[in-house]
């Protein structure tokens, strides 16, 4: 193992972190390392790395191979994340409305799953207050979690999907 080569391979790999899936990155690291070592046997590690060119440019070339233009997915992913957040918030709001309705005892459903806290504490007003606090936090947390989940899933699925689309 040569440190100059390892630093270069790491430098390329670091830039591919969000642009290629982990198995493919492993493969790229292995192949790049193996080729640089073959070059180093001829010209030495320093020259081998110098001849390979700028690590950022090499990473960009690899990223293009993996997933087309890297910037293109971001607006689409943002739109889907926004739609997902909206859907989750709508579900949360639905629960709030049902709880409010339940607080007007005329529509009280003793078997409602939303009222399990009421059954435990026995105090409807306190339960609703607690629920509203939870709701406020959910308004902040749900979009953030939805976006994180979506972008993580998208990063994993997209390279494979892109490869499939280009093969057709």
């Amino acid at each position: 193992m040569n440190l100059t080569i390892e630093r270069y391979v790491w430098s390329v790999d670091r830039r591919l972190r969000r642009r290629a899936d982990p198995p493919r990155r492993r493969e790229i690291r292995r192949e790049l390392r193996q080729n640089l070592e073959a070059a180093a046997a001829d010209v030495g590690p320093r020259d081998a790395v110098a001849r390979a060119g700028d690590a950022a440019e090499v990473a960009r070339d690899y990223a293009e191979v993996e997933a087309g233009t890297p910037r293109r997915w971001r607006p689409r992913a943002g739109l889907v994340a926004a739609a997902l957040s909206w859907l989750l918030l709508a579900l949360v709001q639905q629960r709030e409305l049902r709880l409010e309705r339940a607080s007007q005892w005329a529509e009280f459903d003793p078997w409602s799953a939303d009222l399990w806290l009421v059954r435990l504490s026995g105090d409807l007003e306190e339960t609703i207050l607690l629920h509203v606090h939870v709701q406020r936090i959910a308004y902040l947390v749900v979009p953030l979690v939805a976006f994180l989940l979506w972008s993580r899933a998208w990063r994993r699925v997209r390279p494979a999907w892109k490869r499939g689309a280009s093969a057709v």
Binding site: I28, L32, Q34, N35, E37, A39, R51, D61, V65
Partner: protein, 118 residues
């Protein structure tokens, strides 16, 4: 020619050059880099050949196999697929057609000053 334009030109033809060289003999990454340099394209950075091979493989133009190496880990050797050979023929035709148009255009003498619009 500015370095960036030159490297863009090289990048544009790299795929066809790699396919052509692999059609002669299967090679692994660094070996192919040396062959590209020996062919006269000494300005092609080694680092641009490896992703270009990845692109050819992704597009189904080359296939690869691992071959044990006496001096380290197994090497990945590339060779063109039938689709790659067809692509090579097609790209060669397209390249020649382009050269036929661009070459006479560039070969004509350049006037000292462009003519002014009437």
């Amino acid at each position: 020619v500015p370095a960036n334009h030159h490297s863009q030109l090289l990048k544009g033809v790299l795929g066809i050059v790699l396919l052509r060289l692999l059609a002669e003999r299967e090679s692994y990454g660094y070996e192919l880099v040396e062959r590209v340099h020996e062919a006269g394209l000494a300005d092609v950075p080694d680092g641009s050949v490896y992703p270009a091979l990845g692109r050819l493989e992704r597009d189904g133009h080359v296939s690869s196999r691992l071959v044990a190496s006496p001096s380290g880990p197994a090497r990945k050797y590339y060779r063109p697929t039938p689709a790659g050979r067809a692509a090579l023929a097609e790209w060669t035709r397209a390249w020649r057609a382009l050269v036929d148009v661009v070459d006479p255009l560039l070969a004509a003498p350049v006037p000292a000053k462009p003519k002014e619009a009437a």
